[in-house]
Amino acid sequence: MGEYETVIGLEVHVELATKSKIFCGCSTAFGGEPNTHVCPVCLGMPGALPVLNQKAVEYAVAVGLSAHCEITRVSYFDRKNYFYPDNPQNYQISQLYYPICRNGYLEIEGEDGTKKIGIHEIHLEEDAGKLIHEENGGGSRIDYNRSGVPLIEIVSEPDLASAGEVIAYLEQLRVTIQYLGASDCKLQEGSMRADVNLSLRKAGEAGLGVRTEMKNLSSFRAIAQAIAHEAKRQEEILSGGGRVVQETRRWDENEGCSYSMRSKEDAKDYRYFPEPDLPPLVVSDEWMEEIRGRIPELREEKKARYRIEYGLSEYDIGILTESRQMAEFFEDTVSLCRRPKETANWLIGEAMRLRKESGGGNGYFSFSPKHLAGLIRMVEAGEVNRTTAKVVFEQIFRQDVDPEVYVKEHGLGMTGDAEELREAVRQVLEQNPQPVADYKGGKEKAFGFLVGQSMKATKGKADPGKIRELLKDLLS
């Protein structure tokens, strides 16, 4: 690629996490029998009218503010006219001329340090229904449950130069939006969708080359592959003296290549015009400040605070702040037990291992921070040893048990009574005359065996350090 550099801009659609649709009261819940979350408005029945969901506006503004955008104080909706059966009105209500957010940026960690990726605009629009084609010419059916689900489209500037930067930008976007609670941003489930605009230009040139738009990218892996593939395809065209055609292409993940969907000449004329059924959308000072006030501490702010407040490693901080749920869980636990490092170790080690085992994704932990904090306190107080603590933690993870109750009920408490412990070790020595003799004869290995036997005799509840002390004392 030496001769050319890649220029990439992204159009990212994100489904907003509102309970109801953008222009009617129907549920946005995923799944559901076809056409059960529908009403005259989202079915495009004659005489039905849209009413804007204020929560969708608040999410869009929150995303815009978090991405350093200007908020358009009087924005408008426009109709995008096109005929397609998944679109019940045969127009989509969107924002063309005055989008709700403009001129922002996100920062990513690029190859040469921090890089600002410009955000051209964020606009609100409605999702379409879903076409279901039956096999063997059985016709097509349409499910309008998704029709009218609120979307924001985040259009970046062509500031991205590689697949790595694209992934970093998408990650940053995803984490930010998830922190805001504005969407769960799942590529696989389609709640986040990215279209890649890519062109090449001679290294060092200022102008932009002819670009293509790549659609149907359903994972970060597909995005990276598609970028590599498309850059190579364009490079081959250009270095062969050809010209790239401005077109929309569809990525085929199974085949690992893309196909032309339509060229610029076939581009539809959407006949946009201002939506007459909706008045101008006014974001007042008060409303904007209210929304700003509700924006939680975002990841970068959390990271900075964790460094100072908790003195954790960058690695730990990275994992703990990956999602707002994780970070809040961590903070809640620490506020109870005041042991950040211990808390981090439990969450990053055991909790993540168990979540992975149980096949969970980035979902919430279902146990209470109070119980983890309790366990940490018990370990520190010497009430359980670490081996037992892991067993108890698993029960906390799975069933949210109260560690104190659980330890008591299952007799897992550390044997703390010195006399009782001394007696147990004495019995072990009596029952194992040979290893005792071996140890006294100078075989250090026999000591380990005696420690093991003593632990076994105390059913693992004793502190191994104490046992060592006792053994040394009794054998001396």
Binding site: L43, G47, P50, F83, D269, F273, P279
Partner: protein
């Protein structure tokens, strides 16, 4: 009963001189006996009407309905949804479409105890000025069945004129309530845009559409508007009324009022009989204390009609896109793919005037033409609003014709669409500017057909408008269509 106003029928019910079912039965008999001559109604379901009337009567007796309209029958233009009755928009496209909901206006009528008598004929999707583009056949003017009743609310206007119903709802996008009311010698009210919810009105041009009332006189129209007009959260363009105390309407409503008569409206399209009718109405109003003055509306005179047709058609091209055979309504018989499904369904389902307007609208919104046509039309609209705002700083009301003349003959309009469009010159301005306006009967032309004048007021100045119209109608009583006597 057919000579009575809505409020007289309501009073009779309250005073137990007749019941709601008796009133409904009488009008059902009128329709059964005489509507075949006029073709006012598309759908009448007598069983549903009588069961509704009986239910209303029970509620009147229980004291749940006490208002002046309780038990009074009303007809509804067939582009306004009423639960359980098909809403055809006079189109093959929706010939069997039964909406599962009431329009907000209909819901509020029912809450006032009114009984929906049936659905009235219109130009297809309210696109027309004659009620001749209906897929269910044209409506005839009860004053002379060789003439059109006007349009697009021709069925509603003719039904009221013929005494088939005391009052009817219409919709007014560019004059579709006022002009047919004028042609049929009855009173037509187009309220301020946004005062009556559009929820359930099948959209023609969303930024211009408003539901209005056709009645015997301004008192009936005002009462019915009062029952319908309220902020509705289902319509984001809905407005809050500003009138404090609407009733009783004053009979001194013209005293001291400044009325402007746009000079341009009495020239050009308006014929001399119409101009004379306006002059004579102005004389009466002057006698009632109004101060009349000639004004000029140069921008409105020049740009209102083209701006109206560009904007209305543009919005219509988008609003009517949903009728595609996929979800409801007419679907063509055979098709290979969905492109063909769309093409054939829409070619077969729509009549030619609807197609003309959708094509014109799609054209003016298309790339390369948007700036030249649609955007300029919006700019013209803004200036027209400004022109009216200027006038209403100095004047309370504007007086003009409701149409250039009386009703044309059947069959002479559709062949010359541009000429037909130009004849909307007096009515479209109120829609572009969102103003309230009424058309009032103002005598008969030489040919015996009614002429109508129009009064307009500033947005939300319904009280001023109604009081003025009431004062005028105290002096100039409602016309009686000869057909009501002959029958």
């Amino acid at each position: 009963m057919r000579e009575r106003t809505a409020r007289e029928i309501g009073r009779g019910i309250r005073e137990k001189r007749w019941s709601a079912p008796e009133a409904a039965e009488e009008f059902l008999r009128e329709i059964a006996g005489r509507d075949s001559q006029y073709g006012c109604f598309i759908t009448v379901d007598p069983e549903l009407v009588l069961s509704q009337a009986a239910a209303v009567q029970r509620k009147i007796e229980k004291g749940e309905y006490t208002g002046p309209l309780a038990g009074v029958p009303i007809a509804v233009k067939d582009n306004i949804c009423a639960d359980g009755l098909r809403t055809t928009c006079a189109s093959r496209m929706l010939q069997d479409f039964v909406p599962p909901y009431d329009a907000e206006a209909v819901k509020r009528m029912k809450e006032a105890g009114m009984v929906v008598l049936g659905k009235t004929n219109l130009d297809e999707f309210a696109m027309g000025s004659t009620t001749e583009t209906s897929a269910f056949g044209s409506t005839k003017n009860p004053w002379n069945p060789e003439h059109v009743p006007g349009g697009s609310s021709g069925g509603s206007a003719a039904a009221v004129a013929a005494g088939l119903v005391p009052a009817a709802l219409g919709s007014d996008t560019g004059g579709s309530v006022r002009q047919p009311a004028a042609f049929c010698g009855v009173t037509g009210l187009k309220p301020t845009y946004g005062t009556v919810s559009r929820y359930g009105l099948v959209a023609y041009a969303s930024s211009l559409d408003v539901i209005g009332v056709i009645g015997r006189d301004i008192w009936d129209c005002a009462l019915i508007w009062d029952a319908m007009a309220a902020l509705d959260r289902k319509d984001s363009t809905s407005l809050t009324r500003s009138d404090k105390q609407m009733f009783p309407l004053s009979d001194q409503g013209l005293a001291g009022k400044k009325i402007g008569i746009p000079k341009e409206w009495l020239e050009g399209e308006a014929d001399h009989e119409m101009a004379a009718a306006v002059e004579s109405a102005a004389g009466i109003m002057e006698k009632l204390g109004a101060k009349i003055q000639e004004i000029r509306l140069p921008l409105t005179a020049k740009y209102a009609v083209p701006a109206y047709y560009l904007i209305a058609c543009a919005e219509a091209s988008s609003n009517l896109a949903r009728f595609d055979g996929v979800k409801y309504g007419y679907r063509t018989g055979e098709y290979q793919d969905f492109h063909e499904l769309y093409r054939k369904t829409r070619s077969e389902g729509f009549g030619s005037e609807a197609k003309r307007r959708m094509l014109l609208g799609a054209f003016v919104l298309s790339a390369g033409h948007y700036e030249d046509y649609y955007r300029k039309a919006c700019e013209a609209r803004k200036r027209i609003r400004g022109e009216f705002a200027g006038v209403f700083q100095d004047f309370d009301l504007i007086l003009g014709p409701a149409a250039p003349s009386g009703a044309p003959r059947l069959g002479e309009s559709l062949g010359r669409p541009l000429q037909m469009y130009r004849r909307d010159i007096h009515t479209v301005a109120a829609n572009l500017a969102g103003l309230p306006a009424v058309s009032l009967p103002a005598g008969l032309a030489q040919n015996g057909l009614p002429l109508g004048i129009q009064l307009m007021a500033a947005p939300l100045a319904e009280k001023t408008l109604f009081d003025a119209a009431a004062s005028y109608q105290k002096e100039v009583p409602a016309l009686v269509c000869p057909c009501r006597k002959e029958a």
